[in-house]
């Protein structure tokens, strides 16, 4: 008896069917692997990576250096202001030879010099921290919002913003609190994820703008300090009355560290109430 040995061989699939199967699996695979666009297909909302660890660290060190500077400067500025007030109250004049007036004048000069010296010592640390924050965040914003997204995508980005979210910056763009408090708040919001409905893109833009403006103010203060020093000492600036240069420097330092003191003349817009936009008309609405 002849036994026919049958070898189990895999069924041959025609090349055409193999090609179709390969094409289909590629399509499915690509759709699973993800959309190359930053806009998610499901939610139509872009995904962002604006705050790498370095930004959080730079913010933290910026807040620390601001705090250090504030602590050092607060007493000096307060002392100088009270000495100036005393000088005015005593009705000391430019040519006054009264020993009391001369004493106050000498004290004001010393305090002012002390302030300039402290600023000069601490400015580089702060500048470095601010520059790092501004530079890292600027690059991230340019890459994520500038090059990956269209202007219409930016609108899609801010769609999810909570109606209760308030900007850290005021309407006028001026900071009204201490610099360390503002930086600390930013750091907390990012590091602890306490954005409280605040939109990430708006938050990044606010931090970047603040860092850039602070750098500009630091430049201004530095040039004011060097001008004060190159003028050949305090005697040429202090002519019996606070000179514009001296006042400008003190004001810049105060604004930088303690924020805008004058109240804004532009009223904040009325916050929207609880009503939501009716969605019945979505078919006639552009995305």
């Amino acid at each position: 008896m002849k036994i026919k040995m049958t070898q189990h061989q895999p069924k041959k699939i025609p090349i055409r069917e193999q090609t179709i199967a390969l094409a289909m699996s590629s399509i499915i695979g690509l759709s699973i692997l993800g959309n190359p666009s930053p806009i998610s297909a499901n939610t139509n909302k872009p995904t962002l990576n604006l705050f790498p660890v370095s930004v959080v660290e730079h913010l933290k060190s910026s807040a620390e250096s601001a705090k250090l500077m504030e602590n050092g400067m607060e007493d000096v500025i307060a002392k100088m202001e009270s000495q100036m007030q005393l000088y005015r109250d005593a009705q000391c004049g430019q040519e006054d030879i009264d020993p009391g007036c001369a004493g106050i004048k000498k004290s004001v000069n010393e305090t002012y010099q002390d302030m300039l010296g402290q600023m000069q010592r601490q400015l580089p640390t702060m500048r470095k921290a601010m520059k790092s924050t501004s530079s890292t965040l600027g690059k991230k914003i340019a890459a994520e919002l500038g090059r990956k997204m269209t202007p219409l995508d930016l609108q899609r980005l801010i769609e999810g913003k909570s109606k209760n979210a308030k900007r850290v910056r005021t309407v006028t763009g001026r900071r009204q609190g201490r610099m360390s408090a503002m930086l600390g708040k930013y750091h907390q919001m990012i590091a602890l994820g306490k954005t409280q409905g605040q939109n990430t893109a708006i938050l990044a833009a606010e931090i970047y703008t603040d860092a850039t403006e602070t750098l500009d103010t630091l430049d201004l203060i530095e040039s004011e300090i060097s001008r004060s020093l190159t003028l050949g000492g305090i005697d040429t600036i202090w002519n019996g009355e606070p000179s514009p240069e001296m006042m400008a420097t003190v004001k810049s330092v105060k604004t930088l560290l303690f924020g805008e003191l004058e109240t804004s003349t532009i009223p904040a817009p009325v916050q929207p109430g609880g009503e939501t936009e009716i969605d019945d008309f979505s078919d006639l609405t552009l995305d």
Binding site: G146, P151, L154, Q155, Y208, T209, T212, T285
Partner: protein, 186 residues
Amino acid sequence: MNQSLWIQIIARTMVSFVAATSITACIPKTVKSAPTCLTPETKHVDQAFEQARKSLSNRACYYQFDTVHSQLIEIAQGDPSKDNKKRFYDFYQWITDQGIISKNQSKMLFTRYFTTQFSNALPDNQNTCSHRSTKETMVRNLAQEMKYKKVGLQDIIGNRDLYFRAVSKHNDLVFLIETTMLACNT
């Protein structure tokens, strides 16, 4: 046939032709009168929409769409109500169905006046950095859209909440665009 006979035939034919043309010239012609394309004049919103539909139902009056639309916008401002949003929505649907404007134009108008979206003023063709040279135009267009939204959201449907939401979105957009452009320059 001789030559004189030919001359007679031609002469008679010409006489007949002249006579025929003279007779038809005397018959009064029926002149087609141009359609009257009236624009809504009433201050009553519902009646205004009715008149607008009636006028635009005539194909010869399609060209009047912009005028009719402006009239409706003006009339509706005189009687702010949340129902106006639905009135305009239905009207835009109707004119699209009539083929007077396209679906996209219809969406553009509805979005412009009655939503908090600024899609009409924001390009979607190139990345944000590429629009650096046209930033000022973009910001101006956003401001113009905001004016339309004031008319639509506040003056026509009387919804100040939505209007303030549009203001807030406008400010956020301008801030975000300007900051992004600044970052693009670095």
